[in-house]
Structure formats: C-alpha cells, structure tokens
Subunit: 203 residues, 2 copies
Amino acid sequence: MIATDLPESRTGSRGRRRSFDMDEAVETAMRLFHARGYDAVGVAELGAELGIKPPSFYAAFGSKAGLFERALRRYASGEANIFARAQAEGGGVAEVIERTLLLAAQLYPERNGVAGCLVLDGARNSADPEACALAEVMRKAGVAAIRDFIAGEAPERADALADFVAIAMKGMSAAARDGADEAALTVVAQMAGRAFRRELAEG
Amino acid sequence: MIATDLPESRTGSRGRRRSFDMDEAVETAMRLFHARGYDAVGVAELGAELGIKPPSFYAAFGSKAGLFERALRRYASGEANIFARAQAEGGGVAEVIERTLLLAAQLYPERNGVAGCLVLDGARNSADPEACALAEVMRKAGVAAIRDFIAGEAPERADALADFVAIAMKGMSAAARDGADEAALTVVAQMAGRAFRRELAEG
DNA sequence: GCAAATCTGTAGCGATCACTATATTTTCTC
DNA sequence: GAGAAAATATAGTGATCGCTACAGATTTGC
C-alpha cells in the first residue's frame, strides 16, 4: 500500500535533506490517531504538530492514509502487540491467551489521552474507506495469528476461540476508550481468560 | 438538551403545517447514524434522505446533535433496549443477564447495513463533544440500570459485574460492526453468560 | 380581511477538509 | 561550476462541513 517511490526507497543521495525526523513524525501521528481516531485528526493539525507544511507532508507520506498506515505498522510492531509479547513468554494456549488479555487490561486504560487499541478502534466509524481497509487488514492479521496459535491445541475450534479472544479485546478497547480503568478491565480479562480456558478444555 | 421551544412544545396552532413526518425523519436519521456513525453522516445527506432543506431541518431539530439525541432516545426506547426486554421476561439476575447477552447476539449482527449498538458505537471517535456527551449519558444510564438490577442479588459486587456486562456488550457491538455474525456473537454471549453466572455465584 | 405564527425554498455564510501547482532552496554528482 | 534531484515555503484549489439570513408560502385567531 506504500508506494515504492516514497522516501524510504530513496536511491540517489542528491537533493535537499529532510528537515524533520520521519520516525518522530510517525510516532506523533500514531499518538494523535490513537487518541481521537482517524477522521478526527486533520492534515492541518498533523502538519502543525509535526512542524511541517502540506507539501512536506505529502512528499514524505503520500497521503493522510499513508501516514496512518505507517502509524498502524509502528503500533503493531511495538509494545502494543500484546499477543506477540504474551507468546514470547512461552506456555500453553490457555496460558498465553490469559496473559494476552491481562496485558490488554494493563495497556488499554487511558494514559496521556490515549486509550484502547489503535488497530481495533483507530478507524472505527471512519468515512474513509482506505483507512478502514488498512485497519481491517491489521485486525484480521492479528486474529489470524491468534487463531493459528490456538489451532496447535484445538484445530477444530480455533476459529470460534480466536473470535472469542478478538471480541474480548474489542470490548476492552472500547471500554477503555469510554474511560474504564485497569481494575475494571482486569476483572474482565480474568473472567474472559477463565472462560477461554474452560472452553478450550471442555470442547 | 432539547430546547423547550422546539416543535414538540408547540402551543399555538397557527402557522404552516410541517411537510414531513418527524417520526419517520428520526427513524431514518437513526438508521443512518447507526450504520455509519455520527460524524460520517452529514446534514446535507440527512436532508436529502429526509426530503427536506436545511431551514426545515433546523426548525424541526435545532441542530444535527438535536436530531442525534432524538435518534438515540428512539433507539433506546425500542427493541434495542435488550436489557429491558430480558428483564421483562422475569427470572433471577444470572438468567436475565444471560438473556440480555443472547439478545445482543441476535440484534447486533449486520442487517441492511446496520450493526452493533447505536448507543455504544454511534458517537465513537466523533469529533463533536456534544454527540459524545449525549451517547455517554445514554451509555451510563444503561449500565446504571444493569448495576441496580444486579445489586438486588449482589450489592457488593454490582459495579464490577455491571462493568463486565457492559464490556461484553461493547465487544459484541464492535465485533458486529466489524462483520461478526450471529454464530460468533452467540458463542461469546454464552461464554460471557456462563462466566457471569459463575462469578455471581462464587463471589 | 388582516395580522400573527409557523414552515419552506433559495441562496449562501465562514470554516474546515484533503490536497496541490509553482517556485525556491538545498544538496549531491559530475 | 553546471545540472540533476529532492525537500521546502507560499499560496490556494474545489469540495464539504454545519448552519443561517431572508423572503415567500401557508394556516390560524381575531
């Protein structure tokens, strides 16, 4: 989705140097999109926060959706990828899923105006089909990773169990964006984790 | 929030008759807001769907947010108030909550472009503080009703249990808006219902 | 009939939306 | 230094946003 002739694929070394740090810019945009959602953050505001004018913005990112895609990728490759973090600590399916949900309960509550999950809620209700599609791809990739992992122990029911985990995370993300604190989310994470463990064992 | 000098408080009978049906207009607006969210539906589109021009729109509803409030009220007073419907059938707390969640699993999946809960997700990520506040009031009222009902059997843990129910419903609404079907939502509703019942009994 | 009251259509308000045409500045290769 | 390449600033594009001034149409009370 990122055009191949954008800055990161720079071949020649000639030309004026960029006056701002693209990583910092993506980080800032990620925070803004996360806090208020894709549509509610305008290019004018992004430019002001980044300290750049529109032509620099479009030369660097191609479009608002292009910057959103970079923000999504940055988000998913960092600490927000709670399933990867839970999986890295090892253990069986139930243990990893319980750990994932508890990590969500820690990560999702509001901090500095940011709450919930950017991938799950960043493009929610957006009028821009491109932003919605970008978020959907990331969502589906995340659920697919969880499903494949669950399939190692319960191949027949992996789809339904992964759907359950996804819905629990969507609920926690939405609740966090509505103001839920870590205590409330932890209760849900524990209850959902136990429900998952029982469903996995009993099926 | 509805100004007292709006049409429903008409005292005199003089003046030109309204050329459209306000109930139908609110119903149409409700459907549009529900399908795409508050910000994604513009006044121009509402006017076109309703077959009225801006001055008629503002004379009747005061503002876009005024129409949204009417849509929310209409929504909450109809079949979408699944907790009231579940409660009306009687039974204990666990039974009513389980029924509520199953009703959500039936109601939330996409039908004619509409999915999830208007109150929970209609103003999600909206840039309009008024729309957000209106939805928040309705959300809190719904959770309060559930909490008060649960308090009849578990006064100490009513808050946490009601939070759990709210988060489950938010997850189901968000998932439905992402395309989840009744089967997926029913699995979650059953698991969440069982988790709720156990938590209620064991606490 | 006439005035008050109410709604409707025409037309357009200022603000913001994402985005861009153009020219200038900077930096490299040669 | 010449020329190519890339990023910049100035300024503004058309479209859409929610909303409104104004005059005409319609219906009532008197």
